[in-house]
């Protein structure tokens, strides 16, 4: 017989390295037609970070995503970056890029100010224009200002900057300190079905509400969350590297190491929790790793809800779940009893 159950998993996760410096640097070059080129030392490892970083540069320059070309991943041409690790790219590289773009933009403001008869600090970059704050009628196309900067004033608008998250070292005895600049939070809920004759668990549905600060690109955030959930499902139910008595792996191949396929994926509803982190670029934090964190917890809690067994060792394979169900039926000790003090 099949039993349905619901389970919840809630988590928090930090952005960037633990205490240690993990800087990013960036260079933004505004071309004479108002488009721009961004140089970043991070590497695109699939998550879409180059698109997101381009969007951050574009936002700071008041241009569109497509107006910014991103160059990355070459130590001879791109500035230092700690790299695609620790869910840090949007936050740390993004902050560096925002600062670099603002430095380049400042040159445009200084060049545009006399053209518009105002001070540089009265200007903003919006909709591919350099315009006067609170009086947008007075404006110039960004292309005209960039051209003026480069060929008349002789000031190519280029900006470089770096960013490192502010942390405070941890006390070696107590661990007290500020190891990270910021954290993200998330909850996932799972609906699952357990077959009590085989122990097999099927994930039917998952809802996921993740905080990433401002979602720079909601479509790519969703992609991260859905991908993280698939990794979490594998972690919860299927995946395990096995060793023989001599310490050799038994299943070092995708035939016997079972990872989720399209058939293992449930329907997923993703929500992005509205939030704004004042320390992040345009309020953004990060999303890569946390997506894979609460899934196994939610699934195992749902198994408990469905058939009353508590899985204490991952993965919750069919064999393990079936054994636990049998033990429970045989009156075995599956319940956690409180011991009052």
């Amino acid at each position: 017989m099949k039993h349905r159950g619901k389970g919840i998993g809630c988590m928090w996760y930090p952005i960037g390295f633990t205490v240690l410096a993990n800087p990013s640097a960036a260079t933004v070059k505004i071309n004479e037609d108002g488009t721009a080129t961004l140089l970043t030392g991070t590497v695109e490892t699939g998550q879409g970070s180059l698109t997101v970083l381009g969007q951050i540069a574009a936002e700071a320059l008041g241009v569109s995503t497509d107006d910014v070309h991103v160059v990355s991943g070459d130590t001879d041409t791109t500035p230092m970056d700690t790299g695609a690790i620790a869910s840090r790219t949007t936050y740390v590289s993004g902050n560096a890029i925002k600062l670099a773009a603002e430095n380049a933009r400042q040159i445009l403001f200084e060049v545009a100010a006399p053209m518009l008869d105002v001070r540089p600090d009265q200007l903003e970059a919006v909709d591919r224009k350099i315009q006067v704050k609170y009086f947008p009628q007075r404006c110039l196309p960004i292309a005209d200002v960039a051209l003026q900067a480069q060929f008349v004033m002789g000031r190519p608008p280029i900006g470089s900057a770096s960013y490192n998250p502010p942390t405070v070292g941890m006390d070696p005895e107590t661990g007290q300190g500020k190891p990270f600049s910021t954290y993200v939070y998330a909850t996932q809920c799972a609906e699952i079905e357990v077959d009590d004759e085989t122990g097999e668990v099927e994930v039917i549905y998952m809802s996921a509400a993740h905080d990433c600060g401002t979602a720079i690109n909601p479509m790519l955030v969703e992609g991260q969350i859905e991908g993280g959930i698939s990794m979490g499902i594998g972690y919860a139910l299927q995946e395990e590297m096995l060793f023989d008595d001599d310490g050799k792996q038994i299943n070092p191949n995708l035939t016997n190491y079972i990872m989720p396929t399209s058939l293992d994926m449930p329907k997923i509803d993703v929500d992005i929790v509205e939030n704004f982190d004042p320390t992040g670029p345009f309020g953004a934090k990060g999303v890569g790793e946390p997506t894979a964190v609460p899934t196994a917890a939610a699934i195992c809690n749902a198994i408990h809800d469905a058939v009353g067994v508590r899985i204490t060792s991952l993965p919750a394979t069919a064999e393990k779940v079936l054994k636990a169900i049998k033990e429970l039926r045989d009156g075995g000790e599956q319940k956690a009893l409180p011991a009052a003090e």
Partner: protein
Amino acid sequence: MADDVKTKEKTESLESLRKADDNLRLPTVPERTLFPKEIGIAPAREQTPAVGQRATRPDGRMHGLGQTKYIDDMFFPGMLHAKIKRACISHAKIKSIDVSEAEKMPGVMATLIGKEIPVNSFGPSYQDQPLLADDIVRHAGDGVAAVAAVTEQQALDALEKIKIVYEELTPVYDPMEAMKDDAVKIHNGESNVYSSKTIIKGDVEQGFKDSDFIFEKTFTTQMVEHVPMEPHASIAEWDANGRVTLHTSLGRITLGRADVSRTLDLPINRIRMIATVVGGNFGGKNEITTEPILALLSKKTGRPVKCVFTREDEFISSTTRHPFVMEYKTGMSKEGKIMARKVRLVCDGGAYCSWSETTLGKACILSAGPYNIDNLHVDAYAVYTNKTMTGAMRGFGAPQVCFAYESHMDDMAKELGIEPLEIRFMNAFNEGSTSPTGQLLEAVVVTDSLKMASERFGWKEWQK
């Protein structure tokens, strides 16, 4: 009509003659991948403001057209293929390595062993890992020698001819065993515990005394592999100026370059690392693997050298997710408030440190969960074992501890007769909460996420 047919026949025969002629004279030109001249740009990419747009990915277009060049898609003139010989023994002393027979094999251009590497050690926290084991083998996936040959098959065949004499050492696989004083020491030293972390907040013993109920449970997790669809791949090319260019599937090129510089004893400005597209990372491509080996093979042969991991290499020699043993003890008030928590984490660190130090630290901090706990004591240990090394993987210890603290939470909720969602609302961080390390938290939305996910799920209405 008849004339038309004749003309057509004539054209066709001329055509076939020309084709035959072309075949004789022209080199084969590979078909160019076709893509539309004008595809157009998705509107979201052209809109301002840029932030918040569902902008499509230019690299995504290239992926779909099959035009993305991953490392394995790059071919350079004269390029050789390298393969790594794995130890296939989990703990042993290397008495001798003989590559002379391998070097005589057809197509073999060079071999490399650990002793030829200028500085044969690397690692992000401690440099405890050899590129090719030269003295002690510490897990079965350790590389012990490399071969560069004209074809991959020739390199593989040559690996079979490498003769290695081992003296077996006692292995230890269980981290709890490895922690014991009398356990075999995997790295010379007093203990196999190579990193420990502590967090103390408030007074945990007093907290337990003030609690109405105490709950205890131990949770364990398994070792898993990242399984990026693209296996690790690198190409090294040593040039006449003594510079080396490395095309590599690495997520952190700047620090990777520093590691290559250290191992090759080469100034940083003579190393170029290019990683334009990586086919999946998840933390598994955060460290160098074969890059310095390929650089030396390229130096020896004067040719570009490529190495692509087989899927088996990927499993046995690259980093994995740490198995954890997690002992939780939590004191609760009868209303459902967490009064005190004590946690002991033991992480199976495998044969080398890799990112275990970081993983342990993060797991330690996060092990309390996103909950207000005034009295907390966490002890955490990373332990060497003779298994595949564990390293960075999506979440750095967080999926492990989350599985434990959230399973624990549900058990406690059930015993106290409190709804699982409610008990989380009662204990969740709020704006201005203090973290386990004493940090004031801002932009905190734990309860918002609980609310959103449960409402979307239909948590309250849901029935079996």
